[in-house]
Amino acid sequence: MNGQRWCALGGPAFVLLFSIGFIFCAGFMPAPPPTMPADELAAMYRDNSVMIRVGCALMMFSAGLLLPWLSLISAQMSRIKSCSPALVNTQLTAGTSVVAFLMLPILLWAVTAFRPERDPALTQLFNDLAWICLLTPVSIAVLQVVALGVAILGDRAAQPVFPRWAGYYNLWTGFIFVPGVAAMFARTGPFAWNGLLPYWIPFAFFGAWFLVMYVLLLGAIRQQEQQAASGTTA
């Protein structure tokens, strides 16, 4: 059972490590605006070449921590009697895709900082790729939390694995991610990749989601242990 608690730590550890890499090393908060001229952007990657890559390395390791975290969520979901294995697998595969798509911008930032003396137009291309990959593939993130939310709401046991409000909370978190797709269209304002909708709101609420789910997962693990100890399988 202790192993599950380690998996649960993966979530908050990801938030901490990713934030250090993203905010403090790479300096991506706030994000470089989409309107930044190519030569300024190239200068940014040149001047911060090492720290951006240090940040990428940290973010890359942090993303890996999400895999045991996602597996734990699916393991606890499968304790919900009325939950179909299809939902359990949707959570896991959608979450895994999120990890894969998180790796992509990290690697693109690293590649851009790896040879910053290249043609600034290419730097701009890679930078565009990285940010649009980070914020716009929202369907997988939405599916992940919606699958979890639906599973929680379907739990009819007297002692549910997760509290019912957590089901609604997950559906709502899914809704938060949807506007991120706007970053494909806007270069300035609240819909750009450095704006309110694709950047600030998802980051704030996604961070909070990990902390809330961490507490809920610990509760689910404790319940599982108690049920195992008392010999019931409710």
């Binding site: 709502w172 809704f175 706007a182 269209f185 304002g189």
Partner: protein, 199 residues
């Protein structure tokens, strides 16, 4: 509104009070409205920076479509209130007719929105036309998504109304769905003046 007569588990008018649906649906409703409130605040903030552009773009919106949709959603909310009341009195056939009417209002809303978007796109006013239209499509699009989800929920409410309210979970489902639909209505009531009317 008359007190629920059929459901033994319904709290009714006790001193403990009655939360429509269940606590969880209110987590969702208040959370959802918080996000919309932030979007509305964002709209007002960015609007102040380019007031001329926003007013000029707003003038091109079709207020008739907006007004028809306001009427449709208000009517649908009324149908849902009456339908919930009918279901509580175990008037099942009436409840079903009222929920069907609410669904049709929702469908009408979607249809009007389709023609409204079509008109705008044919005029070249796409989401990338300017910042006002980014907001316009994003806010109305997110809201429309809520309407579509609500219509799916209303189908299940309609089916559940056939068998009547028998258990606490029937009551929770019915009231929770009605609560959600009213939220969709309420959001439009803010959205409509904000996008179409505010001077």
């Amino acid at each position: 509104m008359t007190a629920p007569a059929v459901v033994s588990e319904a709290p009714g008018k006790t001193s403990e009070g009655h939360i429509p649906g269940e606590t969880g649906i209110w987590v969702f409703v208040l959370g959802d409205m918080t996000v919309f409130a932030m979007l509305f605040a964002g709209f007002v903030y960015y609007r102040a920076e380019q007031l001329g552009l926003y007013l000029e773009s707003q003038a091109a919106l079709n207020q008739t479509f907006g007004a028809i949709n306001t009427l449709l959603l208000l009517s649908s909310s009324w149908f849902v209130v009456m339908g919930t009341d009918a279901a509580r009195r175990d008037a099942r056939a009436l409840a079903q007719r009222l929920f069907a009417a609410a669904f049709l209002c929702g469908a009408g809303f979607g249809l009007v929105k389709f023609f409204e978007y079509r008109e705008k796109v044919l005029q070249g006013l796409t989401p990338v036309a300017n910042e006002f239209y980014s907001f316009y499509y994003m806010l109305t699009g997110l809201h429309l998504l809520h309407v579509l989800i609500g219509m799916i929920v209303l189908v299940f409410v309609f089916l559940r109304a056939r068998t009547g309210i028998r258990t606490a979970s029937d009551r929770i489902f019915l009231e929770g769905s009605a609560t959600y639909w009213h939220m969709v209505d309420l959001l439009w009531i803010v959205l409509f003046p904000l996008l179409y009317l505010m001077k």
